[in-house]
Amino acid sequence: MARSLTKRLVSGVVPAVPFLWLVVLFLVPFLIVLKISLSDPVVAQPPYTPVFDWSDIGGFFGKLDLENFEMLVEDGIYLDATLSSVRIAGISTLLLLIVGFPIAYAMARAPVRHRPLLIALIILPFWTSFLIRIYAWVAILKPEGLLNQALMGIGLIHDPIIILNTEAAVYIGIVYAYLPFMVLPLYASLERMDNTLIEAALDLGCPPWRAFWAITVPLAMPGVIAGSLLCFIPAVGEFVIPDLLGGSETLMIGRQLWSEFFSNRDWPLASAVAILLLIILVVPIVIYRDVEARRLETQR
């Protein structure tokens, strides 16, 4: 009797502990953001009207309004930042596909004994600090930086090209930092592809480019979708890359949230920006979760 009770307690604890942890430290904080985005800023520490004043529940709901969201719509900068974030993330994802596909394809065609090494080489940069890897590009892209020195040294250009503090630098940074996240899912689906399909198509007189479009691309599609979502979603909210490489001209929503919070100390507005960012990303995040859950199920 006592034994079965212990057993039930033990088996109940396994899902309960991580579940509760995530409810308290992931779900509840989220609801708090939603509430604060609806409250008014005050000059105080903390700089917003308290959310949980239990003695005055009625008054609390009375104080909630959509003022912050009205401000987001009226002040064009937030809409511009949102649109430019989605555009920058979209273009970066496309560039990642173009850069990542040939690499993943070559890895999948490499001799089996070399593949673990190739995978390790793709993952290794991911283990070194993200911040440091972005910082490395500042020295390369500066007007008097290493890239311009090299190009001028071989006489290809005479005046330094301005890359740092432009949108181009942000694309380079995102492609560089996110490349493993694109290459690995692509490789996973290309590796499973049956090469004899291509050979059969070629034997039957199909031109190589058509065999590529008709066979390789559709079979790689799960990898394309997973990789694109894995890059697009965090890229929309990216802060470090536009901040260090993009200069003051590059508007991105993650950066806007950061400056509302740290420079303007307007916590309710920062929360409203967070909700806006989340609304943009909720559909891709749900699709990503389904794709990942299905992938794990089929691995069985």
Binding site: L25, I122, S129, L179
Partner: protein, 267 residues
């Protein structure tokens, strides 16, 4: 014919790896630069490494960062392993959809949202910001990565081993510690390393949840980098890159060896 790399394949790999490794290599090379101007070569010198170790604020930040990373990765490993067991061994329990959602969302969610929401939570419950808030925030983020790594292992291994132990009369708990845990331990170790690295590396979530006396290395590096290139940061980066490279190499060799041993035992 199969598995022969074309010239195009070789070129893509070479260019790809050059793109990935050249910036890191240049960063390390220029950490040995005698000149204060980071991009102008002024001869070989190790002076920035000396300056680094004399920089007490940076050393303190490094120590805080390592302690947070160790604590949060340990907590995340326990929680993530439990979550992986729940998702693979408990069938369709109530709240499963919510559970998987909460596991996958933090991994792709922009860090600014996770950081801000946790901060507002800590302020709402009156928890003082500092060492512990960063640790709890990192645990929450990294446990999801541990879950996915361990879950992948639990889904692929041979369940008949567990069933055999139970058939022979081993109680579930004993089966877990005698059969399941040893089999998934490489994945647990990999999850711990991943959690440790992610915590070591995080700037955004730590910036939101930091408080007095809890400046982490990324926060410190970021504030220096904003002021311009600094040879000391290059030196600090080179050391971190060195540690990570050695660590990953050792881990790879060890896992290869244990794999080889397992194969020998199977014969």
């Amino acid at each position: 014919m199969k598995n022969r790399l074309s010239l195009f394949n070789v070129t893509s790999l070479a260019l790809g790896f050059a793109f990935l490794y050249l910036p890191i290599l240049l960063l390390v090379v220029y950490s040995f630069n005698a000149s204060r101007l980071v991009t102008v070569w002024g001869g070989f010198s190790t002076q920035w490494y000396g300056a680094l170790f004399r920089n007490e604020a940076l050393m303190d930040a490094a120590w805080v960062t390592v302690r947070i990373a160790f604590l949060s990765a340990s907590l995340a490993t326990v929680l993530g392993t439990l979550a992986a067991l729940a998702l693979t061994r408990y069938g369709r329990f109530t709240g499963r959809t919510l559970f998987t959602g909460m596991v996958y969302a933090p991994m792709v969610m922009p860090e600014v949202i996770t950081g801000l929401s946790l901060l507002l939570f800590f302020v709402a419950i009156g928890f003082d910001r500092g060492f512990w808030t960063i640790t709890l925030a990192h645990t929450t983020l990294t446990m999801c990565f541990v879950t996915v790594v361990v879950q992948a292992r639990l889904l692929t291994f041979d369940r008949s081993l567990e069933e055999a132990a139970m058939d022979l009369g081993a109680p579930p708990l004993k089966t877990f510690f005698a059969v399941t845990l040893p089999l998934i331990s490489p994945a647990i170790a990999a999850g711990f390393l991943l959690a440790f690295t992610l915590s070591l590396d995080d700037l955004v979530i730590a910036s939101f949840n930091t408080g007095p006396g809890a400046t982490t290395l990324p926060i410190k590096i970021y504030s220096q980098v904003r002021l311009g290139l600094s040879p000391e940061v290059n030196a600090a980066s080179a050391i971190l890159i060195g540690i990570v490279t050695i660590g990953v190499t050792i881990a790879t060799i060890l896992s290869k060896r244990s794999l080889a041993r397992a194969e020998r035992n199977a014969l």
